[in-house]
Assembly symmetry: C2
């Protein structure tokens, strides 16, 4: 119903995660009202992302160079590896300012429903890096796919390095969480992983 | 914290309506995973929208030609003009398949808070078109800005054409609406504009 050029742009916006028809329409109409320069800048930003972005050859995180800023940082502890599913998880963790080791980005999670198998993920290089590590912290999501992936990695790494220290991030009541709003799984984790007061 | 090219794209996405930092990140990361061809197509769609889209010289709706499809359609009633704020409203109304007149798109609403005055809107050409019209249907949103704009247009048009028929779309309980969830304004409208049963 819209002019063709607008329909084409609406279709492009609809490919973005969680964007339905109404939202894509709103986005495209806003673009039609932006200045030509702003739109050109947007188009250029899209092209540049594909042209410049690559994955860090060490950890798999997004980077414009063959090695990312974190992997190049010699002040960090390179013997502690925090394993996550996506580059967004790295940013989330970095925002805490509490972690000073390095990361390994799997770029996905094992998922039988989506047909994602271990060989599709950035796992081989993790196994190689693990030889020089003191600790591997498994920090995949607390979802079925996240748990499956962590269990798989735990088994794989222990098979290869029987003495390696592998940890899993804690699960329990989130900060500010209300007991009566928490789901059964969260409460079960919170109970199972309880700690002695004062420790 | 992200590589520069990704940060630039995130900034572009944040300009879209209702898009916060997290959403913009998700969009940009999806783009980084798309094929180069898909991204090029997206960039091209952006450029094309600015290059090809213009406003219909008659009604102000978005169009790739100087006159839009609806204004060119001789089977429609050109003496009945449905006045709306934006091209999205035209699409919404067209989806009903119940309206066979033409439209007039103001491209905005009078808004003291946003500093939008009548002279910023596509009103002059409406006043000119109204000379040949049998009915002007004011169909701006049921918001303060929408009501202000409708009242302004009603006064302006009646001043110029004392005998013109000006109507306002009905306000009341929406289809499927529950009385106990409706706000006071909606219920007041529903009461005031009640109609005799069977009419």
């Amino acid at each position: 119903m819209y002019p063709t050029s607008l329909e084409n742009l609406i279709e492009c916006f609809r490919r973005l995660p969680g964007v339905g028809e109404k939202t894509a329409e709103r986005y495209a109409l806003l673009i039609s009202e932006e200045s030509e320069e702003d739109v050109r800048q947007f188009a250029d930003a899209l092209i540049q992302v594909k042209a410049k972005l690559t994955h860090c050859s060490v950890c798999g995180n997004l980077s414009e160079e063959s090695e990312c800023e974190i992997c190049k940082d010699t002040s960090r502890n390179h013997r502690q590896i925090f394993v996550v599913a996506s580059p967004r998880d790295v940013i989330a963790m970095e925002r805490t300012n509490e972690y000073h080791g390095v990361y390994h980005v799997l770029n996905g999670l094992i998922s039988s429903s989506k047909g994602i198998m271990p060989e599709h993920l950035n796992i081989d290089s993790l196994v190689k890096r693990a030889a020089q590590a003191d600790e591997i912290i498994l920090a995949t999501n607390a979802t079925i796919d996240g748990e499956t992936t962590s269990m798989y990695l735990d088994r794989l790494l222990k098979q290869k390095y029987p003495n390696i220290l592998i940890t899993r991030i804690a699960h329990g009541l989130p900060s500010g969480g209300m007991l009566d709003y928490a789901d059964e799984m969260t409460l079960t984790h919170a109970l199972t992983d309880r700690r002695k007061m004062g420790q």
